[in-house]
Amino acid sequence: MNLATIAIKNTRRNLFRTVLTIFGVAVAMLAFLLLRTVLSAWLVGVEYSAKDRLATRHKITFIMTLPKRYVEDVRQVPGVTAVTWFNWFGGKLPGKEDQFFGTMAVDIKSFLDVYDEIYVPPEQKANVLADRRGAIVGASLARQFGWKVGDHITLDGTIFPGQWEFNVDGIYTATKKSIDQSSLYFHWDYLNESLPEIQREQVGWIASKVPDAGQAATVAKRIDTLFEPRDIQTLSMSERAMNTSFLGMISTLLDAMQIVSFVILLIMMLILGNTIAMGVRERTHEYGVLRAIGFMPKHLSAFVVAEATVLGLLGGALGVAIGIPLINQGVGRFMEESFTGLFPYFRVLERDVFIVMGLSVGLAVIAAIIPAYNASKLHVVDALRKFG
C-alpha cells in the first residue's frame, strides 16, 4: 500500500462523482486534442515543406504572370539544379462547382523531377508524358470523385473559359506529408497551344531546386537581382518561407484557436478542481484523524494531489482513447474531403497525444493546489471536532 494505491482507492468514495469528473475531463481533453489536430494539420504543411526548393513569382502579385523565357534565365542562375513551371488553371467539375480542388498546368516531366516526393508508377508516367491531354490526379482526389486510370473527364475553365477535356493517365501519391494528394496536373503545352496568341507564353510561377537549404536565400536573391532591371520583376523565396507567410495570413484564426484551446483547459481545471475541493471539505474529520495518528500537513497535501493526478490521468487517457479513432476515422476523413487544400493531412499526431496526457496530469496538479493547501492548513483539534 502506498500513496498511489490509497489515491486510487479514494476515488471509489463517491464513484458516481468520480466517474462524472473523469468523463468531464475526457470531454475537455478530447476537444483540446481536436483543436490541436486542426492546428497541427495546418502547421504540418509548413513543417514538411521543402527548404531546398524555391518559388519565383511576379513581384507585385501572384495573380500576374511571368514571361515563359524567364524559365530559361532561371535555369542559368548559378546554384539552380533543376527548374519547372506552373500555371494555375482553376478548373471545376461541371455540376460540382462547390467542390474545390487544385488544377495546374505544368511541364510534367520537369515537374516530377523537381517534386521528387510525388510518385507516379512508371507505366502511368510514360502514358501521361505521351498523351497531350493526359493528366495525373492525386490519390485523395481520385477517391473523392471515383476516378480510375483511363477515365476521361471534362472540366469547366474559370480563368480560361470553355470545356477542357483530359484523360486520367496517372494517379500520384506523395511520400511527404506536406504535399496534398488532391490536385490535378496536366500539360502546360496543351493549355498554351489552346490559348489565343496574345495570352500565350505566360507562366504563373517558377519552381527551382537548389543543392541544399543553406543556399536557398542566396540563390533566391540571385534570381531576383537578375530580373531587377527588367520590366517585370520577380520575388523568390523557399517553399517553406512561402507557406509560412501564407499561414501569417490566417494567423488570427490560428491565434483564436489557441485561445479557445486555453479556455478548454480552464474548464477542465474548474471541473477537476471543484471535485477535489469538495472531497477535501467532506473529509475534514478524516484528515483530522490522519493528523492525530501522526501524518503531517505535507502528507495530506500529497494525498490530495495524488488523487487529482489519478483523475486527470484517467480522464486524459479516456479522452485520447475516444479521440484517436474519432478524429482519424471520422472527423479526419470529413476534413480531408470537405476542406481539401487546407488540410492535406488530418491525423492525430503522436506528439499531440503526449501533450494532452502531459497537460491532463500537469493541470490536475495545478487544480489541486488550493484544495491541497486547505487540507494542509487544518487544525487537528478542530478537524476532529467536525462531523463530516
Partner: protein, 389 residues
C-alpha cells in the same frame, strides 16, 4: 412553493463551488456568443456590400470578381441593357471595375507581406456607390496617382495612411489621400484607385473584372439577366449583387461555423457535467434539510422544482456573466484571409440582442440539463432523513 431566497442563500453559502461552476458556464456562453458575433460580423461585412436592386456582371464561368476577365468594350453594351436605371440626365447608372490583389508589407515586421484587395474604380464611383463616404482626407483626383483606402485598412499595412506612399509597381508610386467608410461592408478592406492606373500597373489594359449596375427595380433583374446571358459569344453572366456577396462569404462562414459549433458542443458537455457534479453534492450535503422540508409538509414536486430552479439560477449567473463578458469582443478586430479573393479582410464581432439573449438562454438550458437528475434525487429524499444524524 419554497421561497427563492432559500436557493439563493444556499448558492451563496457554498461560495467556492458556486463560483467554479458558474465560471465554467460563463466561459461556454462567452465563447458561443463571441462566435455567433463573429459569424454575424462576417455575414454583415461580406453581405452588406450588396445592395438590393443592383446586379453584378461577370465573365461566364467565373465565380468571383478575381477570376473574371471582361473586355472594356462590354461596358457600354451592358450599360445599355434593358432594366438599367437612368439618372436625371439620361445616363445609365453603373460602373466597370477591375479587382486585383496587391502584396504590401505589414508595419512593424521585417518584410512580412500580406495581400490587399485593390479595386480600380471609375471617376463617378462615389456617386454610384452611395453608401460609401469619405471620412478622412479627400477623394483621389481623377486620373492621378492617388488612392483612397477603406477605414479597416488604415494603419494595417505600410503606406496605408493619409500622406503615406507605397509602390504599385517598379517606379510607380501612389499616395494615400483619403479614408472611406462603407457601412461595415467588405469595401472597407479595399484600396481604391483610378481604373486606368490599376490597368497600367498590372498590365490589364482595356480589361475589367466586373460591371455593376443599378436596376430600375429588383423585379427587372430577370429581364436584365436574360439580356446578358442570351448571346453566348459575349460570355457573360449576371447575379443580383446581394446573392453574389452571400456566395462570397459562404466558404469562410462555413468554416467558422463548423469549427465553433464543434467546440461549443464539447464545452457545453463539460460545463453541464460540472453543474451536475455540483448539484449532486449540494443535494447530498443537504439531506437533513430536505428531510426537514418534507417533514414540514412540502411535496416532492416542490422540492424537485426548487432544486431545478437552483441549478438554473446557478447557470444563469454564469450565463449572464459570460454574455456581458462577450460584449468586450466588440472592441476586437479579426482579420483573416478571404478564401475567394485571396486578400486580407477585416471582420468585427457584431453583437445583437438576439445573440446575447440566446446565449443566456443556452446558459439556462445547461442549468436545466445539469440539474434535472440531481433535482430528482433531491425529491426522493424522505422525511426520515431529518431525524438521522
Amino acid at each position: 412553493m419554497i421561497p427563492v431566497a432559500y436557493n439563493i442563500r444556499s448558492l451563496a453559502v457554498r461560495k467556492a463551488t458556486t463560483i467554479a461552476t458558474a465560471t465554467g458556464i460563463a466561459l461556454v456562453v462567452a465563447v458561443l456568443a463571441s462566435s455567433q458575433m463573429l459569424s454575424n460580423g462576417i455575414r454583415n461585412t461580406l453581405g452588406k456590400a450588396g445592395q438590393p436592386g443592383r446586379a453584378i456582371v461577370l465573365r461566364k464561368g467565373a465565380d468571383t470578381e478575381m477570376s473574371s476577365n471582361l473586355e472594356n468594350r462590354m461596358l457600354n453594351l451592358i450599360l445599355a441593357a434593358p432594366g438599367v436605371k437612368r439618372d436625371s440626365s439620361g445616363q445609365p447608372r453603373g460602373v466597370g471595375e477591375l479587382l486585383v490583389v496587391l502584396a504590401l508589407e505589414k508595419p512593424g515586421t521585417s518584410g512580412q507581406m500580406s495581400n490587399v484587395a485593390l479595386r480600380g474604380v471609375s471617376d463617378n464611383v462615389f456617386q454610384f456607390r452611395d453608401q460609401v463616404k469619405i471620412v478622412a482626407g479627400r477623394p483621389a483626383k481623377p486620373g492621378s496617382h492617388e488612392v483612397v483606402i477603406g477605414q479597416r485598412l488604415r494603419g494595417q499595412f505600410k503606406g496605408l495612411d493619409i500622406g503615406q506612399k507605397f509602390e504599385l509597381k517598379k517606379n510607380l508610386n501612389v499616395e494615400t489621400v483619403g479614408v472611406f467608410a462603407g457601412n461595415g461592408s467588405s469595401s472597407e478592406s479595399e484600396v481604391w484607385g483610378d481604373v486606368d492606373l490599376v490597368r497600367s500597373a498590372f498590365g490589364r489594359d482595356a480589361m475589367l473584372s466586373s460591371v455593376i449596375v443599378e436596376l430600375e427595380s429588383p423585379a427587372k433583374f430577370d429581364a436584365f439577366k436574360v439580356a446578358m446571358e442570351r448571346d453566348k459569344q459575349l460570355g457573360l453572366q449576371a447575379f443580383p449583387e446581394i446573392q453574389y456577396y452571400e456566395q462570397q462569404s459562404e466558404g469562410t462562414a462555413k468554416l467558422v461555423t463548423w469549427l465553433t459549433g464543434v467546440v461549443v458542443f464539447f464545452f457545453s458537455v463539460g460545463a453541464i457535467i460540472g453543474a451536475t457534479i455540483t448539484m449532486y453534492a449540494a443535494v447530498a450535503h443537504r439531506k437533513r434539510e430536505i428531510g426537514t422540508l418534507r417533514a414540514l409538509g412540502f411535496s416532492r414536486t416542490t422540492i424537485l422544482f426548487s432544486f431545478l430552479l437552483e441549478a438554473v439560477l446557478l447557470a444563469l449567473l454564469g450565463g449572464v456573466t459570460g454574455a456581458l463578458a462577450s460584449l468586450g469582443m466588440g472592441f476586437v478586430k479579426f482579420s483573416m484571409m478571404n478564401m475567394t479573393s485571396w486578400s486580407e479582410i477585416s471582420f468585427s464581432f457584431d453583437p445583437t440582442p438576439g445573440i446575447l439573449a440566446s446565449a443566456v438562454l443556452l446558459g439556462g438550458m445547461m442549468g436545466v440539463l445539469g440539474g434535472v437528475f440531481p433535482a430528482f434525487r433531491a425529491s426522493r429524499v424522505s422525511a426520515v432523513e431529518a431525524m438521522r444524524d
